[in-house]
Subunit: 132 residues, 2 copies
């Protein structure tokens, strides 16, 4: 699955996320794109929906905000659950995968015959720099 051609709006939203060091809320994206003609939240949400579908972007549920995928080139994002550490102080986000965690969660859901569709793993806390 290669990169799909992004539309103008999708490209603009994706650029905002890629350039940000931190997660960005939909309304912040909207504000940053007013100069490019964005006027309503739906323009942002529609672009985000597609970017999420393409796997280029992740939604952080505990923040109601979005980040560009850290590994868009690799297809690893689609081969298991993505987990995040999120610094409560500086906002920095690290994205990672752990096959053992995936495996344990899968074992649990299998045993219960629960069919997983989307898994969220978010660790809020303090990054090394901020905890020091």
């Amino acid at each position: 699955m290669n990169l799909p051609q992004l539309t103008k709006n999708q490209g603009l939203v994706f650029d905002v996320l890629r350039r940000s060091e931190q997660p960005v809320s939909a309304y912040t994206i909207l504000d940053k794109l007013r100069d490019h003609g964005f006027r309503a939240p739906l323009q942002v949400y529609r672009a985000l929906d597609k970017l999420l579908e393409f796997g280029l972007v992740h939604r952080l549920e505990s923040l109601n905000a979005f980040v560009a995928c850290a590994h868009p080139a690799e297809s690893c994002c689609r081969h298991g659950t993505v987990a995040f550490t999120i610094c409560n102080s500086c906002g920095h986000v690290d994205e990672f995968h752990d096959h053992e965690v995936d495996h344990r969660l899968e074992a649990f859901t299998k045993a219960r015959r629960f069919k997983p569709e989307k898994t969220t793993i978010e660790i809020r806390g303090l990054c090394a720099a901020c905890a020091a």
Copy 2:
């Protein structure tokens, strides 16, 4: 840490959550408690804050909703991360713990010197009954 004495509002909110088979949003709680004198969201949120602090209630980040802790008697909720399966169809939630998952996530954060404060693990999908 034993059960603290709940205030009237805290008790009312907790009862709503305990009686519900599904996660409940703060505003739904508010509606259910109007007959008991609740008039504003803050009355609910303040009670929820305390209940979360006591470990009697969990917040589901991916739903912006709340559930009563499934194991309030045991202190297991405080001895590791709580994980949830959430059925997208019927709304049923199962709460569980997995020490191996805890261990792996801890290994990751330790390696990065990330200091975890709160970890969210939510698996959205279809429960056995709804997937059949």
